[in-house]
């Protein structure tokens, strides 16, 4: 075999290996989804969705878990969106290049790398203990808000950065103030990108279990929360609880709850991808 033949052979071999690796991830994903569907689909019915938790697997439902997840989703959105967007706007439109903006930037990228369980420890000490919120929905939502804040800030900045200078100049030329320009021109023009980031961040929050376990969210909550100061559970914690039990019936429950959880996260991600797609098509600066 000549040298160039050998090289061509190696080239082809890597191509095959590359295809295998690429499809490995996809195949695992497929196996996984099919396995979950087979195990859990039969368990999903109206009763499962509307029943309270129970010590008996066949009577247990996810009513408190999915209502808890919904509560957390809404509260986290209410807290994190204004804060994150405001911080993003400040960093992109107001902050002068200098020490402060440098520190802010490094700090935010550091926060994005802090493990979620550490946010749980922060929430436990600050919100649950110091502010005496207890293991309430509000404490959970505050903790998750801090967790997703860096994601919202970074995507807000990117969306705002994509708005061309000329739009701002035109607005200023017509006599608008800085805030008028941001509020009436820059934000409307970048709302698609900002929404995409917010939805991706919220879908992350919906899937988190670790920080909420640390702040003391329970696995067994026999009532539906009616206010933000009540104790709660969420779908990921309910799944974790069921997976940890030895009886096979609870594993089936876990699979069924996973289908519901994945439905929610994929739905959120789908909306985000659609928004990004629409934004890319619509905007032609």
């Amino acid at each position: 075999m000549t040298n160039s033949e050998y090289n061509r052979y190696k080239d082809k071999a890597f191509q095959v290996f590359g295809i295998c690796c690429t499809f490995f991830g996809l195949v695992v994903l497929a196996i996984f989804l099919v396995d979950i569907l087979i195990e859990g689909m039969g368990r999903i019915n109206w009763e499962f969705i509307t029943s309270l938790p129970s010590r008996r697997a066949l009577r247990a439902g996810i009513l408190t878990a999915w209502t808890g997840t919904l509560w957390i989703l809404v509260l986290t959105a209410v807290i994190a969106i204004p804060l994150g967007v405001a911080a993003g706007v400040y960093l992109e439109e107001y902050a002068r290049k200098g020490r402060l903006s440098n520190i802010l930037e490094i700090n935010i990228s550091n926060l994005a790398g802090v493990p979620s369980i550490i946010y749980g420890l922060l929430g436990l000490e600050i919100f649950v203990r110091q502010m005496q919120l207890g293991a309430s929905l509000l404490a959970g939502a505050l903790t998750l808000s801090l967790l997703i804040l860096p994601i919202i800030i970074v995507t807000t900045r990117e969306a705002i950065k994509a708005v061309p200078r000329s739009i701002r100049d035109a607005s200023f030329a017509l006599g608008a103030s800085k805030w008028q320009t941001i509020w009436r021109q820059v934000l409307p023009a970048s709302v698609g990108g900002i929404m995409t980031g917010i939805i991706l961040a919220l879908s992350r929050a919906v899937g988190e279990a670790a920080p909420l376990i640390v702040i003391g969210a329970l696995a067994y909550v026999p009532f539906v929360a009616t206010g933000p100061m009540e104790e709660f559970t969420v779908l990921p914690i309910q799944i974790f609880n069921w997976v940890s039990r030895p009886q096979a019936d609870f594993l089936i429950n876990a699979a069924a709850a996973i289908i519901i959880l994945l439905f929610i996260t994929f739905l959120l991600n789908g909306v985000a991808v659609y928004l990004r797609y629409r934004q890319q098509r619509k905007v032609k600066w």
């Binding site: 695992v28 996984f32 802090v114 369980i117 800030i153 670790a210």
Partner: protein, 291 residues
């Protein structure tokens, strides 16, 4: 400038400054609770004892078993994710037709959006039984399957970031390699990957940091037995699992057991903080080499 404009700017600045307060809060919370922990247990004992049994009657406070558990699962995860993720990045960049890349990339990224508790279920109920069918002596809870599944979760992280790094290498370098008669393989591994090496290293460091802090997969599938071992077939416990384990029990606030989760937390934080800053430093230092 009008007064309301000033007020708005102030509010926006306040929101930005909150991010600094979060960091300060994290460090303050971890430090204050751990300092009070270390006043009862010396740092020397913490770092050198070989057993971790704070919840037993005979208490030992050696963090090493939790650290080795964490590093073991992390190592397995990276051993899975690095070769596959890097190969995918190179393949999508140098070999795959453009259409395929457009379809495959978002689908792979779907892997990163699945909640980790779901991966834990997968590790425990699918991967472990599958591995047990040909690895005799594999325990029901083990570092191996938790690590493998964590690796699968991390693949898109490495492949996406590495792909970005490779596609940022100027076209002229690739064309020069082809002009000299290189095959795609030679171009990829002789020119493109070395040129993108800092970006690839950053992706791996961030992946390690992610794996070190990952909680639910290991809490579900790797066990809750702190053990000073590098054997991937037996149950172990990671730092994160320990924090979850204590949080699930009812340890009284202010007790020594309660403070252990903050001592474990600060150990974890030191690891991820160091890794993140190394990656930040590499990015800053090598960023504009080819511009």
């Amino acid at each position: 400038m009008r007064k309301s404009e000033k007020i708005i700017e102030g509010l926006l600045l306040l929101s930005a400054v909150i991010t600094i307060l979060i960091t300060v809060g994290i460090i303050w919370v971890l430090l204050s609770e751990s300092i009070s922990f270390f006043s009862e247990v010396s740092i020397f004992r913490f770092l050198t004892e070989k057993e971790w049994t704070p919840l037993f009657a005979d208490k030992k406070f050696g963090i090493l078993p939790l650290v080795t558990g964490t590093l073991l699962t992390t190592f397995i995860a990276i051993a899975v994710a690095l070769p596959i993720g890097l190969t995918v990045a190179v393949y999508l960049n140098e070999y795959a037709p453009g259409r395929m890349r457009q379809i495959v990339k978002p689908v792979l990224e779907l892997l990163a959006t699945i909640p980790t508790v779901v991966y834990g279920f997968f590790a425990l109920t699918v991967v472990t039984p599958f591995l047990q069918s040909f690895i005799p002596g594999l325990a029901g809870f083990n570092a191996l399957s938790a690590g493998i599944v964590m690796g699968i979760m991390i693949i898109p992280m490495i492949s996406s970031l590495s792909e970005d790094a490779i596609s940022a290498v100027p076209r002229s370098l690739r064309e020069a390699a082809y002009g000299m008669g290189s095959t795609r393989y030679q171009t990829a591994f002789g020119v493109m990957v070395p040129a993108a090496s800092s970006g690839i290293v950053v992706s791996v460091i961030l992946a390690i940091s992610r794996a070190v802090g990952e909680t639910m997969i290991v809490a579900i599938a790797a066990g809750q037995q702190p053990r000073l071992t590098l054997n991937p077939l037996v149950p172990i416990e990671t730092i994160t699992t320990y924090i979850v384990q204590v949080s699930l029990g009812d340890v009284p606030h202010g007790s020594l057991e309660y403070k252990t989760i903050f001592a474990a937390g600060i150990t974890l934080f030191v690891f991820t903080f160091t890794l993140n800053n190394i990656s930040f430093w590499i990015r800053k230092k090598f960023q504009e080499k080819y511009d």
